[in-house]
């Protein structure tokens, strides 16, 4: 019962997102052919508009789109003559691999760094790890990526410069994607663990003779995990659907670039397709995070009907 209600409400959220995106998309100036319109004669343009249903009134376009969407068909891309379904299917692999790699790395490094800082609160290691975190967050990936290419790839020749293929190709983009999230996760872990380590139950755990390691891992980390998990949700959704900047700089055949390119090209089916794909992943992730709150802290009650 709870589950079916949640699935229904997720579908409603998705429908609102699709509808709003559809409306906004059509209310901004320009159309898919305005960029290369000079090259095309008027009757060709008319044929093109007809082919992509752009000559029909907006409400009808909307109904037609939703009808296709219910059949899980995102329609054809106007710019590239491919199906949006195919575009997502072929590009998602590369984006997801990079995203997952950098997510796992961010979580491990972030928790390690933040945990160390909390344990050695106000001491040298705390200072050092927070310095690393501050540098990490204030050097964005679009600055870090060219620097990485310049040194690691061009000057020292350690790794391939760009493009996609072997595992070595994923190293530099993964680093560029990881630095920011590591810094943020480390700060969250530190802040909430400092708070948790002051609580009475930690003193109890210490008093009953648990080792430091056990106290930190079983009691400290678990109870300080909620902000981290909350932050990781949207991060997961945006990382595995690819990052525009990183995919451009490293020439990675992922789907991240479609999110921005489609908007500049007014490629309506691609805008909607990528938005829906991202939103589905996001909505499911946020739902799972809500569920995980109860797993981390059984006292948490999200709905008054649960018990």
């Amino acid at each position: 019962m709870y589950f079916t209600r949640r699935v229904f409400s997720m579908l409603v959220t998705l429908w609102i997102i699709v509808t709003l995106t559809f409306l906004i998309m059509h209310s901004i100036p320009g159309d898919p052919f305005s960029t290369d319109a000079k090259a095309l004669p008027e009757d060709v343009l008319e044929n093109m508009r007809e082919k992509y249903n752009l000559d029909k009134p907006l409400p009808l376009q909307y109904v037609l789109y939703i009808k296709n969407l219910l059949l899980l068909d995102f329609g054809p891309s106007i710019q590239s003559n491919r199906d949006v379904n195919t575009m997502i299917a072929t590009g998602f692999g590369a984006s997801a691999i990079l995203g997952l790699q950098s997510l796992v790395l961010s979580i491990i490094l972030g928790i390690g760094l933040g945990g160390l800082a909390a344990l050695y609160h106000h001491r040298f290691l705390d200072f050092l790890s927070m310095l690393i975190a501050i540098i990490g967050i204030s050097v964005p990936s679009f600055i870090l990526a060219p620097l990485l290419i310049k040194y690691a790839a061009v000057e020292w020749g350690l790794l391939p410069v760009a493009s996609w293929g072997t595992w070595q190709h994923t190293i530099l983009p993964t680093i560029a994607l990881t630095v920011g999230p590591v810094a943020i996760i480390a700060r969250f872990v530190r802040a909430s663990m400092i708070e948790v380590l002051n609580q009475n139950y930690i003193r109890t755990a210490e008093a009953k003779g648990l080792s430091d390691f056990q106290v930190v891992l079983r009691h400290g980390l678990r109870n300080g995990l909620i902000p981290v998990i909350t932050f990781i949700g949207p991060l997961f959704a945006s990382l595995i659907t690819g990052t525009f900047v990183i995919e451009k700089i490293f020439a990675i055949p992922g789907i991240g670039k479609y999110f921005v390119d489609s908007i500049f090209n007014r490629d309506y089916p691609v805008i909607l397709g990528t938005t829906i794909f991202y939103s589905i992943i996001l909505i499911i992730t946020l739902f799972l995070i809500d569920l995980s709150y109860r797993f981390i802290d059984p006292r948490i009650k999200l709905s008054s009907r649960e018990d």
Binding site: V12, T13, I17, I143, R187, E195, I226, S303, S304
Partner: protein, 313 residues
């Protein structure tokens, strides 16, 4: 024994009434106590002074050199930092020191605006949503409604919203702040909600409720101060992220227009030339963004310790 022989009057002398029952210390309001605590925290003081220095330089910095931020001198292009051009010059011969400090005004304004939006909308939505979850049918629907709004705002492509805004409004700082305020707060709202969900299960909240505190008072005085740690951490990320978002928006033509400088646009413009060795054009704006971050972090840590009710000794 001598004590027994003492007269009864001396044994039962009435004591001064305030010897055992000391008058309670006048209670210090929470905010006042926090200010007292902050001034005792050295790290926070360092952060505060650094921030003050950056603000002062943003105001007077460009006037300290005989160059204006947008003055071009092509014969002096691409000079390394020297005693005339303290931060060097860019490809159009503009003085990087003057541009850095005039850019600071825009970047800091955007950063502060984003922080204010986070604090006002994000913390409020998150606090209400987290507190209302599991509090009867009405509470559940408030939490769900607010979280669905957050999901929708996460889902709609931000860039589309920004372009739509560009159609409706003139490009400029105000438009940029509006663009930030539409979606800028959703991350904060979710973080605060998660934190409140956890904190409100603790006994002191129940105690406060049974003692008759109102919902508003519980959220404002008990739940949010205990969530202060993560609120401050989130704020310290919002500021640099907004500074970089500004450079992205300016790149799209929504933000500041071409000759006007901001840290984000300066860093962005400098990207093409790092490879040719002109490090100063990226270095100074990037270091200042880092220093601003550091100042906020230090100040935030101090605030966290002085505002957090649990860490009092």
């Amino acid at each position: 024994m001598e004590r027994n022989t003492a007269p009864a009057d001396e044994l039962f002398k009435p004591i001064e009434s305030n010897r055992f029952f000391k008058k309670p210390k006048p209670s210090i309001p929470m905010w006042k106590e926090s200010i007292i605590n902050i001034t005792k925290n050295k790290l926070a003081l360092v952060g505060f002074l650094l921030l003050l220095l950056i603000l002062i330089l943003a105001l007077v910095g460009p006037k300290l050199v005989p160059f204006t931020p947008n003055e071009q001198a092509l014969t002096n292009a691409n000079l390394a930092p020297s005693s005339t051009h303290w931060f060097g010059t860019d490809d159009l011969g503009r003085d990087v020191w003057a541009r850095t400090w005039s850019g600071a005004r825009i970047s800091l304004l955007i950063g502060f605006a984003a922080a204010a939006i986070d604090l006002v909308i994000g913390v409020m939505v998150g606090g209400i949503s987290g507190y209302m979850a599991g509090r009867g049918k009405l509470g559940d629907s408030i939490d769900r409604g607010l979280m669905r709004i957050v999901e929708v705002l996460y889902g709609i492509p931000y860039l589309l919203v920004v372009i739509l805004l560009l159609v409706v409004m003139k490009p400029g700082i105000l438009t940029m702040i509006v663009a930030l305020s539409i979606t800028g707060w959703v991350g904060m709202a979710r973080i605060v909600r998660g934190q409140v969900l956890q904190i409100k299960q603790q006994e002191f909240v129940l105690a406060a409720r049974k003692l008759g505190s109102s919902h508003t008072k519980i959220i404002a005085k008990h739940l949010l101060p205990n969530a202060m740690g993560v609120i401050i951490v989130t704020l310290t990320f919002t500021i640099p992220q907004a500074i970089f978002a500004e450079s992205f928006l300016s790149f799209l033509g929504l933000g500041v227009q071409s000759p006007v400088a901001s840290w984000g646009t300066m860093a962005n413009d400098a990207l093409g030339v790092i490879l040719s060795g002109q490090w100063w054009r990226l270095f100074f704006p990037a270091v200042l963004i880092s220093l601003t971050m550091f100042a906020f972090n230090a100040l935030g840590d101090g605030l966290q310790e002085s505002l957090d009710p649990q860490s009092k000794k």
